[in-house]
Symmetry: C2
Subunit: 383 residues, 2 copies
């Protein structure tokens, strides 16, 4: 199916079903006895059990399996700050994926504010409903502070999918891609995009021992010439072992680079740009819905390994591979913090699923029946 047909059919299907999720009873409500058992008077005893022993809420309700998918709509896919309601189709998609692949009950919460303190307070105020928080499509740099504060102030795990989910799946893909091209941890890497995903990727690469990276954003390379820099962008630049050229064009950093990771916007590179990279180049063009460069163009530019974030191209490097299994592991084990050790263990577990990686097959499919269990086991072991 080509992209035009996908768009047409996608709109038709969304309209036909009016969205993608629904809330269903797990129990039968067909008789007065059913109501007496599940509603009044029976339900009062269940309430009393939780009063006696607060943790009993995990035994008698669905809380233990409940996750919030929360967005303020400030960075929806590669579409930008389009607001929470326009982001709802993405959130419903995540919720459907959570249930289909990991049997997790995830519910979209759209925030009517993009103010940092308001967001933090609101999430804390609705937290008792949930056993984990999945932040989604919240723009940098606010997202960094939100995750940091909530992780400290809540006693349930808080995960920002655009940061950690993307970083984990990129590392998983990269581990295998480098095996294919026979290169090591000292490869030179350019990360196009220094938002939530770009920063998180730089972090996890550093934690994994791959410090030879440059970042760039819409103003050019993140280099010492950028005197205005502060916050996470500056931190990641300082931590990098690479010397990033001064330029207002991202492409100027491509010569001598082994790996290009795009988490920015559609159509940022042309085949001529890719040709400037080292031989056996690896290109992950992950912007959604349209990648930084189309796979056929990258191939013409002589990239050896190509991945996108999309479901209709081969080699999908998408956080949807990660979050179902990762949350399954978090919920089942009661882990409260997603540490760097857990993230790396999950990335390695995903990479390990492909025994003999090739350019055509170096990352498992989301439909691999073992994926969720392998990831959730990795979470539990890394605990």
């Amino acid at each position: 199916m080509n992209i035009k047909d996908i768009i047409k059919k996608s709109l038709e299907l969304h309209k036909k079903t009016r969205g993608k999720i629904e809330i269903k009873p797990k129990v039968s409500l067909e008789t007065a006895e059913d109501l007496a058992l599940y509603y009044t008077p029976g339900v009062a005893e269940v309430c009393k059990k939780i009063v006696e022993r607060p943790e009993a809420v995990n035994d008698y309700t669905n809380k233990k399996n409940s996750v919030a998918i929360i967005t303020d709509g400030s960075a929806i896919l590669g579409l930008g700050n389009i607001g929470p309601e326009a982001g709802l189709p993405v959130m419903e998609g995540k919720a459907a994926i959570f249930k289909r692949f990991a049997n997790i009950d995830a519910y979209p919460i759209l925030l009517n504010t993009q103010e940092l303190e308001e967001i933090i307070k609101t999430i804390k105020n609705i937290a008792p409903t949930f056993s984990a928080i999945n932040l989604e499509d919240i723009a940098a740099p606010g997202c960094f502070e939100i995750v940091k504060r909530l992780s400290k102030e809540l006693d349930i795990p808080v995960f920002h999918d655009d940061q950690d989910g993307t970083a984990i799946v990129v590392l998983a893909g990269l581990i295998n891609a480098l095996k294919v091209v026979g290169k090591g941890k000292d490869v030179k890497i350019l990360i196009s995009g220094a938002g939530a995903a770009g920063i998180a990727i730089a972090k996890i690469l550093g934690e994994y021992g791959m410090n030879n990276y440059c970042l760039c954003d819409s103003k050019g390379t993140i280099s010492e010439c950028r005197l205005e820099l502060n916050g996470q962008k500056k931190t990641m630049m300082v931590k990098s072992a690479a010397s990033c050229p001064c330029s207002n064009k991202c492409t100027d950093a491509l010569p001598g680079t082994d790996v290009l990771i795009g988490v920015s916007k559609p159509n940022q590179f042309m085949k001529e740009d890719i040709k400037k990279m080292n031989p056996n180049a690896v290109v992950f063009a992950l912007a959604n819905p349209a990648p930084e460069i189309m796979p056929e163009e990258a191939k013409k530019g002589s990239a050896k390994i190509i991945a996108t974030g999309r479901s209709d191209f081969p080699n999908q490097v998408n956080n949807a591979l990660v979050f179902p299994g990762l949350f399954r592991g978090l919920l089942d084990s009661g882990i409260r913090k997603v540490t760097p050790e857990i993230k790396i263990a999950v990335a390695e577990s995903i990479a390990g699923m492909i025994k003999n990686p090739t350019p055509e097959n170096f990352i498992p499919s989301i439909f691999d029946k073992n994926l969720v269990k392998i990831i959730s086991d990795a979470v539990k072991s890394a605990k």
Copy 2:
């Protein structure tokens, strides 16, 4: 099944299923094409449609059918301020009833605050997810201000089930009960309980032209001797046409009373108290899980008509009869305010379903297949 068996089995069943609701995909996610259509890249076009035309969120997502069931846990059933998590079994029960009877997708939100301004702000901040708000088990007097403010500040309907749901079903039951005993709107009524439900019942009775009511609370009758009174309790006392005796005992208001409506706490009255009422007395003992007086006791006290809120006794006067159909009507019609006209129309529509009311049968069952449609039609007509 007796109450002991109900309690035992209710606990077992809740534990077995770990609660009562789950979130399910409405669409198939079995192939890469499915993911391309419902997730990336297809979903981006759906987002763009909503950017172009914000109301399209109602066509392409589940928002149009989504309701929040929100509680701060301050007045759960007749159990009091037991906190939001201990109230979750009730909220999940409501959600299950919403879906089973009216195909509405309702989701419980537990608030981690009981502070008025915080509650209002938090609900406003998560409102974009929902097309209607059902407040649940929030204590008086805070609930009055919360409903008032949210109704003004949000553009979706805000309904407090403990107030309006209870008031509507009580009026419905009373219309038919008075037909059975051959009495008119001038009956003398005692409302035991002056919380959210009691105040709302007094209001709807007044709006319906039944002004001859007294209220009482845990300190006694709401009368002129209560110099400390203010707020809604005082307002309803002033509006009443009855002269309520001064007493610290609710039962002192029973002599000469035709109707007793209990929305307070278990075991408030004995058969001797009911005997003081006028002949052909009507007793609605609606506290949950245990009524103000058990039906057999009320009967011994010579009550002619007896109802409770429970599913295991006949004549269930419970707001569960009202909210599924009422919200169905609100969501389908796009009505933004639940006016007194709508409430009375709904009560009359429910009463009208029983053509020849008798002491044994004067209120329809929640399982009556026409109930939801008749109520939702009444909402739309009263618009």
